[in-house]
Amino acid sequence: MEPSLKPPPRTGTRTIELQLSLLEGNDRQAARNRARFKELGLSAINLVSSPGAGKTTLLERTLSEFGSSTPCAAVVGDLATDRDAQRLGRSRAPVAQITTGSACHLDAGMVARAVDGLDMRGARLLFIENVGNLVCPASFDLGEKTRVVLLSAAEGEDKPLKYPPIFKSAHVVLLTKMDVAGVLGFDREAAAENVRRIAPQARLIELSARSGEGIEQWYDLLGTLTPKG
C-alpha cells in the first residue's frame, strides 16, 4: 500500500471514503445460493480449469458411475453452444447449460438462474462446470462447498506457480489425463510438488477419466462431500 504522490484536490472537490467490495453483489448471491443448496440437501462443487483440461470428460464418467448410486445434477458453463450439456445429458442426471456469451467465468447469479430451470429433487451433489479459464473464476464465489481445480498433463508442471490465485483458492486439485503423462513428458512428482507449495491446503488426486486410474479416490472424496440423509 505505497501512498502515491497525488496532486492536491481541486477546489470544490469532495473525497468520499468507502470500503466497498466490488464483488459484494456476487458474494451476496453466492451466500443465497449456498443457503438454497443446503435447504435442498445438496453440496455444490465448482470445477475450474483451463479449456480442455478434461472437466467434461471427468464429469461424464462421474455422472454415469458415481451418479448411478448418488443422484447428481450438473450446470455447465461455456461461451457458446450446448455441446457439453448434450454430452452430459446422456446420463440420467439433470443438466443445464449456461452460455455466457463473451463472459469468461460464471457468476453466482447465472448459477442461480440455471438451477431454477432444473428439477433438483433428490439430487445430492451439484456439479458446476465453470468456463475454461484459470484467472477470473478465482474471484467469483458461486455458493459452492468445494472448489476443484483441474490441471491436465498437457499443460505443464508449473501451472500452479503461474496462476497462484486459483490454486490458492482450491479445496481439491486434480492432476488429469495421467494416462498420457508419460507420452507428454509430464513430471507428475514435480507437478504435485508445485501444487503442494502453492496450495498446501488442497487435497491432491492424480487421475485419468479415460483409463480410470485414480478415479476411485475421486469417488471416495465425492462420497465424503455428499450430504447424509
Binding site: 469532495r14 468520499i16 490465485p165 498446501p200
Partner: protein, 104 residues
C-alpha cells in the same frame, strides 16, 4: 462502475475526478486489463476523464503451525519465516474494493 455512479448520484456530484481501488495481490485482477476496461466504461458518464488509482494490497499469510502472520513474497508460496512451514492460510490479499472517490 455502477457503484461509482451510484455514489456520484447519492452525493449529487456532476463530475468524478478520481477513483481509488484497493486490489489484492491475489485478487486475480490484472491491473492493465482493469485500466483498459475502465477507459471504455467511463465514456459518456459523469466519470469520463476520471483518474484511476490502484492501491495494491500485499498478500499476507498466517502459519498454521506457529500462528505467525507474515508478508508473502511474489512467488505466492506461503513459507513461514519462523518455522519454514508452507501454509495455505491467506489473511489478506484477495481484496477488490472501491476505496474512495473524488468528485464535485
Amino acid at each position: 462502475m455502477e457503484a461509482v455512479l451510484a455514489q456520484a448520484r447519492e452525493h449529487q456530484a456532476t463530475q468524478v475526478h478520481r477513483i481509488v481501488l484497493r486490489v489484492g495481490a491475489l485478487s486475480g485482477v490484472e491491473p492493465d486489463a482493469l485500466r483498459l476496461a475502465f477507459d471504455s466504461v467511463i465514456k459518456g458518464t459523469p466519470a469520463a476523464g476520471a483518474d484511476l488509482d490502484l492501491e495494491t494490497v500485499p498478500a499476507r499469510g498466517r502459519c498454521t503451525d506457529c500462528d505467525l502472520e507474515f508478508d508473502v513474497q511474489s512467488d505466492f508460496i506461503f513459507t513461514c519465516p519462523k518455522c519454514g512451514r508452507i501454509s495455505g492460510e491467506l489473511v489478506q490479499g484477495r481484496e477488490l474494493e472501491l476505496a474512495r472517490i473524488e468528485m464535485s
